[in-house]
Symmetry: C2
Subunit: 211 residues, 2 copies
């Protein structure tokens, strides 16, 4: 236990969920850059990289063989198959960050969030990010090159994901990027100050020392 | 209900408690200046003003007659008698701020906090501010002109107040002022995003509009 844990609680796992097209990765990366001691966990996937995505930034893009080998070796904290493609969270970086006393920010869907809560009871804080409106979400999906024939399916998927928001601790509307970033950064900073995360009342130890 | 409540929850009452000499008022005032939509409630007291205190800033300094008249007219949200002096929270400014959709920050002891929780169930968030050590607290009390004969009594009082910290939602150690201010500001911003404070899921209404 580092001396720092006397001033803030033990590490927290922050799960950020949002419908595709909400701007989740942009918000998460900006918060990671702004808040010291926060590690952003990049998921792995077997699905094809989209033109605007970067390997190791948006996802670790891996083959099905690599993903299956990781599964066999227990290298994934949680994983899921969605429309025939695999998605998962590499275990090692997350465990190392927690061991170092850093908080972890993970980009997961509602099922992934539930798995994490089962693995780390009492240590998971969940945040759901909303687009400001369905109209804006539709525009963002068009900008990302989603074909008009698939647009309504994507919107319906988004509405289904948003149903899951009921079970999240915090809600943020991504209307102005800067406000959404500051809201998420504040949630990270605030949760570090939760009294039940501290190993003891801060001053009691020094009271003993002073006695 | 303002449109704003679709993006953040309903107003919150933040109670900040600390032993005398911890720097509570400095932190509270700086947070009020930094966070829009936050109103700092100045308590009223019958005790004598200390040389470094400002009327209307640290307290509203009033006579016993005025205080008793306020009591009779129900003008105080909560009040207490401590060592023969009265302390209380003027009701009107707090109720008006809440009505305007502003959050309120109150400087109360643990008994005042409990009264507020009874008056506003589910709307109170409590924060306890610690001095970095008893040695620092002792120095600060000396700087404030506390006589050496009374110093140990004040330290014992501080330790008794700190026992009450157990029942607070958040703990902040006031080691570096800027860090303590940022921690409290973050708690205010984060609590506004709590999902259970929102009247509804943000996007559902616009889903209906778009349908």
């Amino acid at each position: 236990m580092t001396p720092e844990t006397d001033k803030r609680g033990r590490p927290v796992l922050f799960v950020l969920s949002a419908a595709s097209g909400t701007g989740k990765t942009t918000v998460a990366r900006e918060v990671e850059a702004r808040v010291p001691g926060l590690f952003y966990s990049v998921s792995a996937t077997t699905r094809a990289r989209r033109p605007w995505e970067k390997d190791g930034v948006d996802y670790h893009f891996v083959t099905r063989e690599v993903f299956r080998a990781w599964l066999e070796h227990g290298n994934l904290l949680e994983w899921a198959e969605v429309y025939g493609e695999y998605y998962g969270t590499p275990r090692k970086p997350v465990m190392e960050a927690l061991k170092d006393g850093r908080d972890v920010l993970l980009d997961l869907d509602v099922v992934g969030k539930r798995k994490l809560q089962a693995l780390f009871p009492g240590q998971v804080v969940s945040i759901f990010l909303f687009p400001p409106s369905l109209e804006v979400l539709r525009e963002r999906l068009i900008t990302r090159g989603v074909e008009s024939g698939k647009l309504e399916i994507r919107i319906q998927n988004a509405l289904r994901e948003i149903e899951g928001a009921q079970e999240y601790d915090y809600w943020i509307v991504n209307d102005q990027l800067e406000e959404a970033v500051e809201a998420l950064a504040s949630i990270v900073r605030a949760e570090r100050q939760r009294s039940y995360r501290f190993p003891r009342i801060p001053l009691q130890r020094s009271a003993e020392v002073g006695a």
